[in-house]
């Protein structure tokens, strides 16, 4: 018979086994959040479309029409913006949702055991469902502009994975910090609001002077957004390899350190929540 030992600081190996054992919970929690979100709001699914659409319109008008920033080659400005809006929206909702996920479910933490990592991770999955819905809108826009992507679109899943990594990594950090320090939740909306302007959402990152580009790509979303544009805009927007590599390394580090920190704080969650 298998024997389990519960002892201070001796759960590590078991944890990853449990994570695998509870793998279905990722899906069920994400599914619950998704169902609940759309059952409660009157306009339902439309919400996932309206938000990015309106932001896109505003950005196109402000940056493209008023500031008259140039697009990338032949790509329409609104598609340039929307190609960036998609991963950004995914990242920012993931961040907001996952950082609140544990606090919003105190009973899950204090009344039952399962690897807590599942909670913030599944809220990233929920946001991914939103992402897929908004993706339909991009297809509609491309159809109306008669602007279709070329072979490069097959690389898109790689950049989606990068966005996933960035979202999970920073989500884990914020989620754990949020449980430990309750005033952290005031910081998250600030990060999200600030992030949309320092990330190249409303403009092309080729606007950034060459010597600052590497520094600029310390923001993990820069690599993701550039990748999305490259894959979707027929390569009209060139890939800046050094910054992409920097983003990938940074995302990996973010995920590893996020998991490490989350695991470290996790054992006290039930005591402080």
């Amino acid at each position: 018979m298998s024997e389990l030992v519960i002892e201070a600081g001796r759960v590590e190996g078991q944890y990853w086994k449990d994570l695998w054992k509870y793998r279905e919970l990722f899906y069920f929690l994400a599914w619950r959040d998704f169902l609940v979100r759309y059952k409660q709001t009157v306009i339902g699914i439309a919400w996932a479309l309206v938000r990015p659409l309106l932001t896109m319109v505003v950005f196109t008008v402000v940056f493209g029409k008023i500031a008259k920033l140039p697009s990338e080659g032949a790509a329409p400005y609104s598609i340039l913006v929307f190609a960036a809006m998609l991963p950004w929206q995914f990242f920012s909702t993931s961040l907001t949702e996952s950082s609140n996920s544990l606090i919003a479910n105190p009973n899950l933490i204090s009344k039952i055991y399962f690897p807590r990592l599942i909670v913030p991770a599944s809220s990233v999955i929920t946001s991914f469902a939103d992402f897929l819905i908004s993706f339909i809108l991009l297809i509609v826009m491309m159809a109306s502009y008669q602007f279709w992507p070329d072979w490069r679109i097959i690389t898109l899943p790689l950049f989606v994975a990068l966005a996933f990594g960035a979202a999970v990594g920073s989500g884990l950090w914020l989620c754990a910090l949020n449980v430990e320090y309750r005033d952290f939740r005031y910081i998250v909306p600030f990060i999200v609001q600030f992030g949309i302007y320092i990330s190249p959402v409303g403009f092309s990152s080729s606007r950034i002077p060459e010597k600052w580009r590497l520094l600029y790509s310390l923001n993990p979303m820069v690599g993701v957004i550039e990748g999305f544009r490259w894959a979707l805009l027929r390569g009209e927007s060139r890939l800046h390899w050094p910054s992409l590599v920097a983003s990938v390394i940074l995302t990996v580090l973010l995920c590893l350190s996020g998991t490490w920190y989350f695991r470290r704080v996790e054992r006290t969650f039930a005591d402080v929540i």
């Binding site: 002892e7 201070a8 509870y22 919970l25 059952k39 055991y113 320090y181 005033d183």
Partner: protein, 431 residues
């Protein structure tokens, strides 16, 4: 010969009590930063800001395959902490637990239930949270629904369910877990009588199949019925461990010893503070302290107080409320009792005498209140705990009917009818 499934060795759990965090439930980053900064400026040794509190200390016992063990003890005795460690919700600070076989714990029924989702959706969600796979749930789905008895509403959002229905559905999911070791906390305290019976039956089945059950409860009758062995927890330690009847007897004798509560160290009080309650005592018929009362017995609540000066306390008003969680059952006040205003010596006690305790079985909290010239002096929430068991309140020898269980005020009354043969037995009224 010993085929243990749970082996607990010198288990301990330490909590850190923060002094500065009093009144704040949560740590804020802001406070942590300012504290660091202050220390940096002062550059002195950090003042001791935390105190250790052992919620569990040196707990050791073994549970054999197929045993049904009850864990009893008053609130704060460490029962829940023990269960939380057993369920791996929190880590121990010392010692260890060795477990053989799949352990399922049920500290709450319906964890993760969402009101917006339908019964069907919630079964799947709750099942996976409890550690079942989708395949297992698919296989047991019909049995779960049948056991809960809510077939007709299975596709209705559970927010439209009555609370009883929700509990039934939730328990049904949990009852189909089929673990080798089952750890249960108080879940039987909910639901109606018929369903409780069903739950107890289900637990007996689990035990009869040779599986091991660990059962925490305040309901001594249920423990007595289900368990062959019981462990009494007190102050984070095992006080007694043996046959159920023996442990229960031991528990009841400890209850009688401590019915008063010292209030001088309570900080969570409201009011001016010129007059303070210092102690609350619950006295029985003989004038001796008692902590378990029966419905219908006399109860004398003695409130000790002290004022900050030596003058008489003119125009005083004292009251005490009897409440459960978030619900006041009744109020006794000096104002209701007399027209004249009350003048009291600066130090002493005042008794509130209730000739026949009109409360049904349960734990109640007493909150005394002191007002002087219209200004609140002291108000201590839940200063004392009153434990009540069913007694002969109506003089009929009948207990409060099972299934109506729950804390309630009993009211003396009678029924009259024009019909000669009408019964004049008192009946019940619930609030």
């Amino acid at each position: 010969m010993s085929e243990w499934v749970i082996k607990i060795e010198e288990l301990g759990k330490r909590y850190r009590l923060r002094h500065e965090a009093e009144g704040h439930r949560y740590v804020a980053l802001r406070d942590v930063l300012t504290e660091r900064l202050k220390r940096l400026v002062r550059s002195g040794p950090a003042r001791p800001s935390a105190e250790d509190f052992w919620a569990l200390r040196d707990v050791s016992f073994e549970v054999q395959q197929g045993e049904v063990v009850g864990i009893i003890g008053r609130n704060g005795a460490g029962k829940s902490t023990l269960l939380k460690i057993l369920s791996r919700i929190t880590e121990p600070s010392a010692g260890r637990i060795r477990l053989r076989g799949r352990v399922s714990s049920l500290l709450e029924v319906g964890t993760g239930f969402h009101p917006e989702l339908t019964g069907r959706e919630n079964i799947f969600l709750n099942g996976t949270i409890l550690g079942m796979t989708k395949k297992e749930i698919d296989g047991k789905f019909d049995a779960i629904v049948a056991f809960s008895g809510v077939e007709k509403f299975i596709d209705t959002p559970v927010k439209r369910f009555s609370s009883g229905m929700q509990v039934r559905l939730a328990f049904s999911v949990a009852a189909h877990l089929e673990p080798e070791v089952l750890v249960i906390d108080e879940v039987l305290a909910v639901g109606d009588a018929a369903f409780q019976k069903k739950c107890l039956g289900k637990m007996q089945d689990v035990a009869a199949e040779g599986r091991t059950v660990l059962f925490v409860s305040h309901d001594l009758a249920a423990v007595e019925k289900l368990c062959t062995r019981a462990i009494l927890m007190d102050g984070g330690r095992c006080r007694a461990d043996g046959p159920t009847s023996q442990t229960i007897a031991c528990y009841q004798s400890t209850l009688i010893q401590s019915a008063s509560a010292d209030l001088t160290s309570r900080n969570d009080r409201r009011g001016e503070g010129f007059v303070r309650f210092t102690k609350i005592q619950m006295l029985g018929e003989s004038g001796r302290e008692q902590s378990l009362f029966l419905s219908g017995q006399p109860l004398r609540i003695r409130l000790h107080y002290r004022a900050g000066s030596n003058g008489l306390l003119a125009n005083s008003r004292i009251s005490v409320t009897v409440n459960g969680w978030g619900k006041v059952y009744f109020l006794a006040s000096t104002e209701l009792h007399s027209h004249e205003s009350l003048t009291l010596p600066p130090e002493g006690f005042i008794d509130c005498v209730i000739d026949e305790l009109p409360l049904s079985r349960g734990n109640y909290y007493l909150s005394p209140f002191f007002e002087l010239n219209g200004v609140i002096q002291d108000w201590v929430d839940s200063a004392g705990t009153l434990q009540v068991e069913d007694g002969n309140f109506y003089g009929t020898g009948k207990d409060y009917p099972i299934g109506w269980e729950g804390k309630t005020v009993l009211v003396k009354h009678r029924w009259e009818s024009a019909n000669e043969a009408a019964v004049s037995q008192p009946e019940l009224k619930s609030v």
